[in-house]
Every structure is written in C-alpha cells, then in structure tokens.
Symmetry: C2
Subunit: 332 residues, 2 copies
Amino acid sequence: MVSMRTRSVFCAVLLLFAVSRDSLAQTDPLPSWNDTAPKQTILKFVAETTKEGSPSFVPPAERIATFDNDGTLWAEQPLYFQFLFGIDRIKALAPKHPDWKTTEPYKSVLEGHPEKALAQGDRAVLSIMMVSHAGMTTAEFDTTVRDWLETAKHPRFHRPFTDLAYQPMIELLAYMRANGFKTFIVSGGGVEFMRAFADKVYGIPPEQVVGSAGETKYEMRPDGPVLLKLPKVAFIDDGPGKAEGIQRMIGRRPVFAFGNSDGDKQMLEWTAAGSGARFMGLVHHTDAEREWAYDRKSSVGRLDKAWDEAVQRGWIVVDMKKDWNKVFAFEK
Amino acid sequence: MVSMRTRSVFCAVLLLFAVSRDSLAQTDPLPSWNDTAPKQTILKFVAETTKEGSPSFVPPAERIATFDNDGTLWAEQPLYFQFLFGIDRIKALAPKHPDWKTTEPYKSVLEGHPEKALAQGDRAVLSIMMVSHAGMTTAEFDTTVRDWLETAKHPRFHRPFTDLAYQPMIELLAYMRANGFKTFIVSGGGVEFMRAFADKVYGIPPEQVVGSAGETKYEMRPDGPVLLKLPKVAFIDDGPGKAEGIQRMIGRRPVFAFGNSDGDKQMLEWTAAGSGARFMGLVHHTDAEREWAYDRKSSVGRLDKAWDEAVQRGWIVVDMKKDWNKVFAFEK
C-alpha cells in the first residue's frame, strides 16, 4: 500500500515539474519595457540574484527593493499630487477660516494661484501641508484622502490621479515580488497619504510604505481611542532622510533601489554601498508628449546631482521615451 | 491523454488532502502552555480568525500580531537588559573618559552601583543610554550589541541574555506565523538593539521590529556612506507611543497584541478598538522561582493600570506560574 505521505511527495514532485514548465513558457514579465539596456539589466540582475549557487545569489530574506514614489512610481507634474490634495483641502476648509481670504499663503491658493503660494518658499508650503494634513484623526485623514482620490482629476489628463501610475513600474514591482523581493516605497511623500492607495495601485501593503510623517497624539475619547494628527513634522523622508528612514523602518540595506530625483541620491548611495549584487536605477523624464520632460532645472523632481553620480558610477538611467513603450495603462 | 495541467490540478488536490490530514494529526503547537484559559483562548481565536466563512475570519493581509519585548518575549529583571548593556558600555568606554570617575551618573555605574544611577531619575538613565548608544555608526553599534549578546551573562542565570526568551512565547510566535499572522515587535526597547537578535531568537525580521529610536545623521566618508548615531531621541515607543508607532511604522491596526506592563496599555486599547475578532493579552509575572514575581509596585515592568483594564474588559492575563509549564528552554 502506498502511504499518504509517499503519494503526497510524489505529487509534490510532479507539481513542481508542472509549475517549472509553466514558468519556462511564461510571457514577458515586463511588456511595457522596450528591450533596451534597463530591461536587460533588470532581468539579468533578478536571474542572477535568485539562482542558488550563483555568486550573486541573495537569500530571500535579504531581497529588499525600495522605490521612490513621486516621479518614480507615478507622475509628479505639474505639482506633487499630495500638494494638489493639500490645495483642494484648503479650498474645502476655507469657509471655516474667513481670515484665509487675506492671509498668505492661503490667499493665493483661494484665488487660484497655487504657484504664487509655492513661490513664497518652504515655510508657505509647510503651512499649507500642515493645515491640510493635521487637526483630524488618522482615520478621518485616511477617509479624506480616499475620497479625494476617487473624485479629484488630474489637470492635464482629466483622470483620477492613481491612473497616473507608471505601467512599466507596476509590472516591475510585480516581477520583483514574483521573484521573492519584498517591495517597499521609500518616499518624501506623507506615509499616510501614500498608504491610502499603495496597496490597491502598487500591491504594496501599508507596513511596507516608508514616508514623511507628522506627530500624532493618542487620545481616549468616549467611543474609543484615536490618534490625532498634529501640525508638527516628525520625520522628513527625503535626501539623507531616505537612508535614515530605511535604517529606522526597514533595518536592512536594500539590494535594489529606484528613484528619479536628487532626493533619491542618498538612498541609491546607501544601496550601492552594500556588498554583493546591487541594482540602482533612476527614471529620467524625457517624454513631454506621453508624460513630461524635465531634469536639472525642474523645481519638482529635480534630477541633477543624482544624474551625474549615476552616469559616473554606471547606475541605470531609464530614458522614459526610449525605454518604455507604454507609460500609463490608459494609453492606446 | 491526461494533460500536464490536469495532472497537476489532480495532484494539487491530493496534496492538499494529505496536508490537511497531516495538520489534523499534528502535535500540540503550544507544548509549553498548560491547557488553561489563555491557551484555549489563543487556539480558539486562531481557529476562528483563519477559517474562511467564519464570522470572525480575518483576511491574511490583516493578520497583524504585535508583541512587546521586555517582560513579554524575554525577561526584564533585575533591570531591562538593554540598560545592562548600556552599563557594560559605560565600563568599556570609561578609560577614554577619565572625568566619569567623578561625574554622576557614570560614577555610580563605574563603582558598581547601577541602582544608584537609576535612582537619580530619567535624566540620569537617558544620559547613560545616550552615551552608550550614540557616537558610532549604526553598523558599529550592531556589531557591539551582537558581541555583547555573545559574551555577556545574565547575573542570576549566568547564561547569555537571549537564553532568557520565554519558550511559550517563542512557540506562540511560530504558531501565529504558521497561521498566516505577521508577527511584529512593538517595544520601548531600542529598535537597533532588538534587531540584533530578534530574527535569530524570535524569527522576527528587522523590518518587523518597531521600537524607540535615536536620530541618525547620514555622512559620506571616503570608504562610503555611514549613518552616525546621534545622542538625540527621535521616538519613544512606549505607552501612547506604541499606538503611534504602530500607526506610523505598520499602518494597520493589530488584531492580536500581547504585552506585560502599563507601557502596553495603549497598544492593547488600540488593538481592542478595531472591529471584528480581537485578542489582547498580558503576561503576569507570578513565578519567583522559575522567573520573577512582580506587578503593581515594580519599577521595572510595572503592571497596574493595564491589569485593572484587562480584568475589567476580559482581556487574557497569563499567570506565568499556572499557565506555563516551562518558562525558559534551558529548564530541565
């Protein structure tokens, strides 16, 4: 009599064989990427780091891949989407704050000139972000962001902002995960803002989103505890803050990192400084027709010093126009 | 002809059946727990939350389980182990700081009276922790902690501190993970201190450790970037800070939480406030013989207000003496 155990081992072997045949026959995992250097480098990196016995093999637990969000996973023009959310919140809250009509930077925002508010500098931007992101519970904020994402439209494409996620990067995230990589967002964006869509749009769960954060205050209310969002910055996850955020929240050095701007320089350097196989990539916005073209002089997502370093050190620079055959899923 | 796919589906069904028979026949997942209320409640909670179609079913992605560390996963007497590490560091660093011989709180530590240093209050404790935990890179600190854990011995048990992890909790962590729960540490301890052993001792990877943290500074040195640990607190993950830390680092409300002291009160309240099935547990130290007996009056791991709340709200309180048949793996 063949025991249950023997039968199950036999079947497991057959099953593995079937699965392995299926993988061999699988279609291109990165169909929106042209067959140029970036795609080839990614495929080679993943093949080598996941092959047991390869000198570049990375054990599954150490397969940490980090991605910037704005300009890397979704668009960031004409202004960071979270700032556009902040502006919409200022408009929505204005009736309760009559003084804003005459007080900068709110005045400019309410008069339809957010760029004038921006031009007033970091302090003005911070005021807008604080007022629009604090003074409510974390649960209320989450609902507000989700509502906005469902209703607000991008000014150029007239579509929900989440439609402006890059199709090639969505494919890349799925491909990395299929190969045992744990994908994280490491972004200057607000951690709670990003969590409202990261799971649905990118397949990245809340606990794998690292971002800037404000202070919160625990309050016991009659119907239970809440966390109140305070108008105080706790952590800025940008520039050197990205290496610090990776260390504090993830506690492991990534082996794979993708960014698009000078704010990602230190994340890429930190990734590059580990031993063994490494992948460092930058998205270069070169496609004014399908997306936008900007780099060294841009006030949003400036790519200058990180670009020089990438060229000098042989990091991958994706030329959006050349290397991606599709930018957004909605393109024909 | 039977296709490969049909055969593999057939085998998968057989295999599932075999696996399911194996699970039925499996041995007790919590052998160090007596068959009393806490164990029964845990088994029932896991059975109900993982059974599809059950009204208490929790989807795998939402199976977040958080555990305090000191006094919950490992011992915390006669003093928090990380404080004992700090004291050893003060002694090791003393030759470079001759002034410490005459300066409190270092003087008391160097004279072999850490309890006198402690009695000087929070400021003194903070000084000891800052001096012993800053002024080096994160990589150097990690090496220092690992070296200490390999060589230092617990004053009562004369064994490495990691031997003082609770065997019942190690079993519980493994059991939760085997049922699709993602296990996190959420502790007042330093995040980088805990990461040096959490993976090996508890099976909890670095990215699932939430703890108190100091500021770091990114520095580019000739041989690459480092993160320098600064003598400045960035975040205290204790009391209300535990709910805040869970929100900021995990971004989901746990469905299962275990603590042992008043510092865990808000974590348990935050967990309890979610909808659907919940488990809130406290370890009560009642076993002076095998471990320690302390609660309302203890300066380390005081259990007072959280205990009252647990009794009032029907949370599980583990009576170490009654409910655990083994505390440490090394017991005969």
